[in-house]
């Protein structure tokens, strides 16, 4: 147990512009995340969107190990870490407990419950607990900060790693062009549970990001937000470029920004740049552009992105998911 005291901000009722955001930081500086870490920006921005006191649950991962080294903590919210694969189950327990404690008169205030989990703890080892939480309809906001590999253990592939990406377990060589398989569709899986709100978010679009977090907090029932969280170490780019990379991911259509509200899909930002603009900026993809033997694989990657967009546009047009 560690505590650095209470500094709840004056929670804004409504967020129209970035000027409405509270000045107070609920994620205190001094933590040990790498410079240019996308996950840190995701966490900081998400906390800016809170509407009332919130209990934060973080599964094992970069964000957890780098912000809570005893006797220090960066968290000014009530915060809990239990294990890697169970953040959604822990959050379920907190939400269920708070409701019944309020009903029985042991607690008075309303709270929100927020999970901030990496792609390992969400797409892979935590998927079962997440599915359970969504199906049981716990009123929890689950944000996945997706840095597209197991960064905490040193850049091993996850099911969120995009095809073609180099990781330490998907090296490129004579046989492999990097990761062979597609990225898992987290929002598709979340939406299939019939939840009221799911969306993708990027730290390069702060107002869109924060408004979506706020909407996720306000809906009645579970919400899933999928945030792209560029990792300078794992993606091989300069730490000063994190936000730019997060913007290029959206502009090139590699990571589309969209939301699904009560089964209706809306694309928030259209793609305007070729995928190569995104790939060439990162060491994890550069081999795809530089080596002719991977050209056909690159073409396949581009095809999968086109297919994803075709599907999203169809769904948007149809007005149902």
């Amino acid at each position: 147990m560690v505590s650095i005291g209470v500094v709840w901000p004056s929670f804004p009722k409504e967020i129209r512009t970035l000027k409405d955001l509270p000045r107070e930081e609920l994620l205190a500086p001094g933590h040990r995340l790498c410079s240019g870490c996308g996950a840190a920006i995701v966490a900081r921005m998400a906390l800016k969107a809170l509407r009332r006191p919130t209990i934060v649950v973080v599964p094992t991962g970069c964000l957890e190990v780098a912000t809570t080294i005893y006797p220090y903590t960066s968290w000014r919210t009530p915060w809990i870490h239990v294990a890697f694969e169970n953040a959604a189950a822990v959050a379920s327990g907190i939400e269920a407990a708070w409701k019944i404690l309020k009903k029985k008169g042991y607690r008075k205030e309303d709270i929100d419950v927020l999970v901030l989990g990496g792609d390992g703890g969400t797409f892979d080892i935590g998927m079962q607990a997440l599915s359970g939480m969504l199906e049981r309809f716990h009123d929890v906001v689950y944000i996945c900060y997706d840095n597209e590999a197991y960064m905490n253990t040193g850049i091993q592939r996850s099911s969120a790693t995009p095809p073609g990406a180099w990781t330490t377990t998907t090296p490129f060589g004579k046989v492999w062009p990097g990761k062979l398989e597609r990225k898992k569709d987290l929002i598709g899986i979340a939406v299939a549970h019939g939840i009221p709100y799911a969306a993708t978010i990027s730290i390069a679009y702060p107002l869109d990001f924060i408004k979506k977090v706020r909407k996720a907090l306000e809906v009645d029932g579970p919400a899933v937000l999928h945030a792209i969280a560029p990792c300078p170490r794992g993606w091989r780019f300069d730490p000063s470029e994190t936000v730019e990379i997060a913007r290029l991911a959206v502009e090139t259509g590699f990571f589309p920004l969209y939301e699904v509200e009560n089964g209706k899909l809306k694309i928030n930002v259209r793609r305007t740049k070729p995928v190569e603009e995104y790939l060439k900026r990162q060491g994890r993809f550069r081999h795809l552009l530089e080596r002719p033997e991977y050209r056909s694989f690159l073409e396949w990657i581009k095809k999968t992105i086109d297919e994803m967009w075709e599907r999203l546009e169809k769904l948007e047009k149809a007005g149902v998911v």
């Binding site: 209990i55 239990v82 294990a83 327990g93 407990a97 607990a129």
Partner: protein, 392 residues
């Protein structure tokens, strides 16, 4: 005298949990524990128990959910056994290290493979080092009484540790007995609501479950060990208080005929009744045998074991689980350590019985005592365990 009800072990556990007015229950069905979950959901469904029933998708999530709930200050309960307990294993250590007063019922069942739904303690013995207070019930009455006491022990401000209450799968979980239950009011008064420090509270934000590196990890573990020592004392205290309330006094062990016995069988759970029955018959014939039942397996009741067995020439360690390839079997190792670090060292004979629900008959026990008496006379014990009822 309280109300008398006909209840199975599982029903008695559920009844006690209802009377404890728990806030959150998260559990996943597994034979032979399932009836506990069914009864509790009935209580919630018909309004007899005002609790959140979280129908989780696995045992791992069951314990994780009650960990989250307990971290907010709620009174929580879960139940499982066998594979379910094995699946929870990772979170067992975290629940105790976070100092959460969780109460969990175990309808003890063998671990796979081969898959087997019947009683042994291979599931519970796998949790020996997890930092949970562990109580064994001999019969359905004790299964009920242990649950009521468990909440009081776990939530004691000096303890704050999870408690595992074990009752034998099928032998007790499905056995119908007349049980004397307390009035709801009595249980409520016995289990007062207490404000707990270090919970997730917006008015006092804390970080629960931080990283503990080499400069702090050992101190955390030592604190848990100290809490276990306090728990040892508290289990005894609560057993006495419960006796004043119900007329049924509990200690951490229960002894029969040990005062003058040359051979004492040490056992846990439902085997104690049968073993005592046989010991009584043998004593009538003039054989000096006794029985020591271990009610509290964790923390291990070293003081009572030493004191009560100080006159015994030979102690039989009756293990309903094996430690494959180990220096001995689980209870045998506890007893060996208890005596090796003390001035008196009786002979310890290892007996393995009842694996996967293999019956333990009075005939088996009589044979066990007779063999033990022979060895006591010779002043030696066999190197290998005696596997009771094994077909060879």
């Amino acid at each position: 005298m309280g109300k008398r009800l006909g209840l199975t072990g599982n029903e008695a556990v559920a009844y006690a949990v209802k009377q404890a007015d728990v806030d959150v229950i998260a559990a996943y069905p597994i034979t032979p524990q399932t009836v506990i979950v069914e009864r509790l959901s009935e209580y919630v469904a018909n309004g007899e128990l005002d609790a959140a029933f979280v129908p989780v998708e696995s045992e791992h999530s069951a314990l994780s959910t009650v960990v989250g709930a307990a971290a907010t200050g709620a009174r929580v309960f879960t139940a499982t056994c066998s594979q379910g307990l094995a699946l929870m294993w990772e979170i067992l250590y975290i629940a105790s290290a976070l100092r959460l007063p969780i109460v969990m019922s175990i309808a003890a069942r063998a671990l796979s493979a081969p898959i087997n739904i019947h009683c042994d303690y291979s599931d519970v013995m796998g949790t020996r080092d997890a930092g949970w207070i562990t109580l064994f019930a001999e019969n359905v009455q004790e299964a009920y009484d242990n649950i009521v006491q468990a909440f009081r022990i776990a939530e004691d401000p000096e303890v704050l540790l999870p408690v595992m209450c074990v009752h034998d799968g099928f032998i007790l979980s499905h056995c119908l007995e007349v049980v004397e239950v307390l009035e709801d009011e009595q249980v409520r008064n016995f289990l007062p609501r207490r404000d707990r420090p270090n919970v997730l509270d917006p008015s006092k934000p804390i970080t629960l479950g931080p990283v503990g590196l080499p400069d702090s990890y050992m101190e955390f573990k030592r604190q848990q060990d100290e809490a276990m020592k306090v728990a040892y004392r508290k289990v005894k205290e609560v057993g006495k208080l419960f006796g004043e309330l119900s007329g049924r006094y509990y200690d951490v062990v229960h002894a029969f005929g040990v005062e003058d016995a040359d051979v004492v069988a040490v056992c846990m759970g439902s085997a104690a009744g049968t073993t005592r029955y046989v010991a009584r018959k043998l004593r009538e014939k003039g054989l000096k045998v006794g029985v020591l039942k271990i009610r509290m397996f964790r923390p291990f009741p070293k003081n009572e074991v030493r004191e009560l067995l100080k006159g015994a020439k030979l102690v039989i360690a009756m293990d309903r689980a094996t430690s494959l390839g180990g220096a001995g079997h689980p209870l045998q190792m506890e007893l060996a350590t208890t005596f090796y670090t003390w001035r008196q060292k009786p002979l310890i004979m290892s007996v393995v019985y009842g694996l996967g629900g293999r019956d333990l008959t009075p005939m088996d026990i009589e044979r066990m005592f007779n063999i033990a008496l022979e060895y006591a006379k010779k002043g030696e014990v066999p190197e290998e365990a005696l596997w009771l009822g094994l077909r060879e």
